[in-house]
């Protein structure tokens, strides 16, 4: 996992060791030794002009020189050298100026990795350029500088700048450009560092397609390209040709051997000629960039993972603007500063009007270009003290520091709207986009999140009252949201403080009326609204995310209760508890583990729990749903498909997902005894389930004749008022103690009044 950072680091050590030597022979010997050490190879050899000039790995004075030269100059990946058996061989060529080779060999046949090959190539090139070179010291210094920047984990941009500058200094060309693939659009290269270009030139060639310009050609060729008459080349970049560039050469920057960018030098002097050494110099610097990129990728992940993650986590990769998290942080700071200095903070919430039309009509690339340009204009039209951010999608926001009046804030919103008046190039078309702006002005103790939400609410008001304008937030706009928040807060409190309870409804074997399980149903004892049934608050919990702690509590409590019943001998040892699981819970990472932990906490076997999942979860039919269901199934718990028959999808998921029980929706059961159609449907469902080896459970059974009919068609399980309403645990315990609930026509039990 360290291969790339390892390589960059080894090259830095190699350069330092070679640079520290006093004469050329010592440099060559150090180079061979360090190359072998870096690659953990027993043998290293350097061949120049067909002669072995340095080696390591054989007794001094007894080096098999002929054999080493022969192996170094051949291309075979393995060789026999001396009498130690087979060696894996890695070589890198360089010219100084005759063909020369740096070779390392490792005992055994395990081949060298690609990163190792890249490292040896980089070492050989440095060697080739520095031996016998008057510029050796300068070259080594420049390279050492770059390597230090890489090793010190300087920002990638600094390393790229050092590479462009070093290339400029060593080759003396007037223009240097370094491009890397646009991570968001791999068909484009973006200019990342330049020397000798003015702002206008940079703007003109900031992005170019792979294949355009000499850098693009070097990428396509995956090798060095030299143009002696720049403008005559078909893919020359017009702004560069027009500027009068005469000669140029470009080398690819690679990642894992694949071109990911280019390093280009160019000259306005028509007589400029690139010697072999100069060509190799460019390749060496391009390789430095390759190493820096590879290093940045791996070391980032490894070494300063937190920093990097923080940076990435705080910026929008497309526009480079702060993202929502950083925006909120800045807003919090601005509010804190404002409270100390008695000034006021405002927030603009900006939403592009009809962005979807651009995105859908012109493509995502065009949409991205539009967003990038909007971001740029937004950043330009706010003061340096203000923070512009992209919150996501086509939503942007600005913190305006020290802006506390409607007039100032509306003026700022106006500037934003004006900045968007000029057409924006998106793909092949110039488009004019409008925006709607919501304005919120902090008052007293407004919190950051609240202020942003206020601005959001105002933005929707702006959008509703005709696009392209701005609206200042007023309290009444928020009243609805506040109501909702209050409800969420109360529910959260109830989860934490025992304001919830479970009622249980018996599930019986239709054959003999014996209770085989209970379904746990959550109730909320609301302080002002009384006992609430799930349909009165579960939907809201799903929206707010409170479903997760809610579901966790329900499962734990149900397990606890069942275990208590079992311990007290009240429940049959096979009695199970059925618990409803929402889509949000199911997709929560670690859900299966939470189920396993609840079971083990209460000492229950997996067979004691059935998880009920509504059909809508299945209808989503994603791979993730399947994974999560199988994870539960693997625990040994059973899965019941709730409300069967009310969904819209095909029945294919019954085969794909590991369901054990089908719960036939009450709507099919209501008239099962009197309407032939309903009976036929119920019958078909039972047959289908039997064919798939599933149990069927009839929901909402209320009359004896329903029971008779359901038995006839082969349905196995049932629940409903006929057998018992959902009741508090104390009441249900009495029922469970009985041998059987009414198996034949008998009056419904009155177990309690709560439904």
């Amino acid at each position: 996992m360290f291969s790339e950072s390892w390589a960059a680091q080894q090259l830095a050590e190699f350069l330092a060791a070679v640079a520290a030597t006093s004469d050329e022979q010592a440099a060559l010997e150090a180079a061979v030794e360090r190359a072998a050490e870096a690659l953990e190879a027993e043998v290293g050899a350097l061949v120049r002009h067909g002669q072995l000039v340095a080696s390591v790995g054989f007794p001094a004075g007894y080096e098999p020189a002929e054999s080493l030269v022969a192996v170094a100059m051949s291309e075979e990946p393995t060789a026999v050298i001396g009498d130690l058996g087979h060696w894996s061989v890695l070589r890198a060529s360089f010219s100084d100026p005759t063909p020369s080779r740096l070779m390392v060999a490792r005992l055994g046949e395990e081949p060298f990795a690609r990163s190792e090959a890249g490292l040896l190539v980089a070492m050989a090139r440095v060697l080739g350029l520095t031996v016998g070179s008057l510029r050796r010291q300068m070259m080594l210094e420049r390279l050492a500088l770059i390597q230090r920047a890489i090793a010190r984990r300087a920002p990638l941009q600094d390393v790229l700048d050092a590479i462009a500058q070093g290339t400029h200094e060593l080759l003396g060309d007037e223009v240097v450009g370094l491009r890397l693939l646009d991570p968001n659009d791999p068909s484009m290269q973006a200019l990342r560092s330049t020397v000798g270009m003015d702002a206008q030139q940079i703007a003109a060639i900031r992005r170019s397609a792979v294949g355009e310009g000499i850098g693009g050609a070097a990428m396509v060729e995956n090798g060095l390209v030299v143009w002696t008459d720049y403008p005559r080349n078909a893919t020359a970049l017009p702004p560069i040709a027009e500027a009068g560039l005469k000669t140029a050469m470009g080398a690819p920057i690679r990642e894992e051997g694949v071109p990911v960018g280019s390093l280009v030098v160019g000259s306005y002097r028509p007589e400029r000629h690139y010697s072999k050494v100069e060509q190799e110099t460019l390749e060496v610097f391009a390789e430095q960039a390759s190493l820096a990129i590879n290093d940045a990728r791996t070391v980032d992940a490894l070494h300063r993972a937190v920093d990097e993650a923080t940076h990435q986590a705080l910026h929008d990769p497309l526009t480079g603007l702060p993202n929502r998290a950083l925006f909120v942080d800045r807003l919090e700071h601005a509010i804190a500063r404002a409270s100390r200095t008695d000034v006021t903070v405002s927030v603009l919430f900006i939403d592009i009007d009809d962005f979807k039309l651009v995105n859908d009509g012109l493509g995502h690339t065009a949409g991205d270009e539009l967003l990038v340009e909007v971001a740029r204009r937004l950043a330009e039209c706010v003061r340096t003290t203000d923070t512009a951010a992209r919150l996501g999608g086509d939503e942007f926001a600005v913190v305006l520091e020290d802006v506390g009046s409607d007039i100032e804030a509306v003026a700022a919103a106006r500037r934003v709207l004006d900045a968007l008046q000029t057409p924006i190039r998106a793909g092949t078309e110039d488009v004019i986009v409008g925006a709607s702006v919501g304005i919120a002005i902090a008052s007293g103790d407004t919190e950051a999140g609240e202020l942003l939400r206020n601005a959001d609410v105002a933005m929707y008001r702006a959008k509703a009252s005709g696009k392209g304008g701005s609206v200042v937030f007023e309290d009444e706009m928020y009243q609805a949201l506040i109501d909702r928040r209050g409800f969420d807060g109360q529910l959260n409190h109830a989860i934490d403080t025992g304001g919830l309870c479970l009622h249980y409804q018996p599930i019986v074997d239709l054959e003999d009326g014996r209770p085989v399980g209970v379904e746990a149903l959550v109730r909320w004892d609301h302080p002002t609204r009384g006992l609430l049934a799930p349909d009165q608050f579960v939907g809201a919990a799903e929206e707010s995310g409170l479903i997760i702690p809610l579901g966790k509590w329900v499962l734990d409590e149900a397990c606890r209760q069942l275990a208590a019943w079992r311990d007290e001998g009240i429940a049959d040892p096979d009695l199970y508890v059925s618990v409803n699981v929402s889509a949000g819970e199911l997709l929560q990472p670690g859900h299966a583990a939470a189920v396993a932990s609840a079971l083990s906490r209460h000492g229950l076997p997996p067979s004691a729990v059935v998880l009920e999942i509504t059909e809508t979860v299945f209808v989503r039919d994603t791979e993730l749903t399947g994974q999560r269901l199988h994870a539960l199934k693997n625990l040994g718990v059973r899965l019941a498909l709730d409300d069967f028959g009310t969904g819209y999808s095909s029945l294919a998921y019954l085969r794909r997902f590991p369901v054990d029980i089908l719960k036939i929706d009450k709507s099919f059961i209501d008239d099962v005894a009197v309407a032939r159609g309903d009976a036929a449907l119920a019958h078909a469902i039972v047959d289908l389930a039997a064919a798939l080896d599933l149990q069927t459970l009839a929901e909402g059974v209320e009359h004896a004749d329903q029971v008779t009919r359901l038995r006839m068609i082969g349905c196995e399980l049932a629940q409903g008022f006929f057998y018992g309403r959902p009741s508090p645990p104390g009441e249900i315990a009495a029922v469970l103690g009985r041998a059987a609930l009414p198996a034949a026509p008998r009056p419904a039990l009155a177990l309690g009044s709560h439904v």
């Binding site: 950072s5 390892w6 680091q9 830095a12 390591v56 054989f58 001396g82």
Partner: protein, 401 residues
Amino acid sequence: MNPTRTAAAPIAPPRASCRWIGFGRSTQLDPRAAGAEAAGAALEQSDGKLLIVFAAETYERQQLLAGIEDAAPGIPMIGCTTAGEIAADGPGDASVVVMALGGPGLSVATASAADVTDRLRDASADVASCFAAVEDHPHKVLLLLSDGLSGDQQEVVRGAYRVVGAGVPLVGGCAGDGLKMEATYQFHNGHVLTNAIVGAAIASDGPIGIGMRHGWRHVGEPMLVTRSENSRVYTLDDEPALDVYLSRLGAPAEAREDPAAFTHFAITHPLGLIRRSGEEVRFIGGANFADRSLGCIAEVPQGGLAWFMEGDADSVLAATDEACAEALENLGGQPPLAFVAFDCIARRGVLGDMGLAVEVERIARHARGAPVAGFYTYGEIARTHGVRGFHNQTLVVLAFG
């Protein structure tokens, strides 16, 4: 304690009878008597070719060597002082252990070089040159004992490797001084040396196996070595290295001021350098409280990535088993004639006295009754593949078959 005498090894393969290895140990306080007792016990046949001596630093050294000379006159000898001695009957702190090798199936040559600080590589190459004097037997090893306080010990490996090449494994360790970290001593043919390298080139008809393991694991996030010179580390992540070290590892208060307490803490908290095949462990020998730097026993390259590491008794003992098993495996099925163990002092720090006894017992069990001689080192040498061969915090086991 009585000297231990190990029976000669009349072991199955007929050629094995051409080699013998004997062992002796003494805990007598008088250095001359101790040397004579241990060497006399080891030298069980007349044709001894090499004595390997590991002695507690508490002995008066010249007298000790005189005693050895009394009992084994004229037999080539290399040895060193220790930070504790190892033998099959247990670890010790105030003993001398001697292993004697002999028989026609062996050939040995010894050499030494002193005042090596500024010329470690050349000095090591000079010592390794004694290989030219060894008769040709199919299995070879160069045993090196050096002074870990003399500089970057990878240079010792480089120098020897230049001379003997990939065909000869290198093995050995850095002498100790009972953790005083002041001066260590090397022995060669009756001479007491310091700041020296001594070596024995050994060629044998029997196989020679080497195993090594460290058993450490890294702690927390890696750091960048932002400034170092050779084996001294000045900054990590651009912060003073000592401060990073103390704070990231939550070092006890006394280790923040007292050099001895620091060393005591540091032996169980080495540095790990990222290498191609994993991490290379660096023993932190001391701290400079003035310039806030850390002193290691071998080079820590600037620009490298490093971790702090830690170990516990389980991981260190697991490494013991693995190192022994690897050495035995390399004997190709032959039973061992003897083990020589070079065990880092830092592992001793992790194991404690009880654990140490367990470790040595395990080594002895792997040796299956064959003698074991070894010592607690300030750095270990084992080059069996690749070029690098200097280790820290590692157990190196040399098995003679």
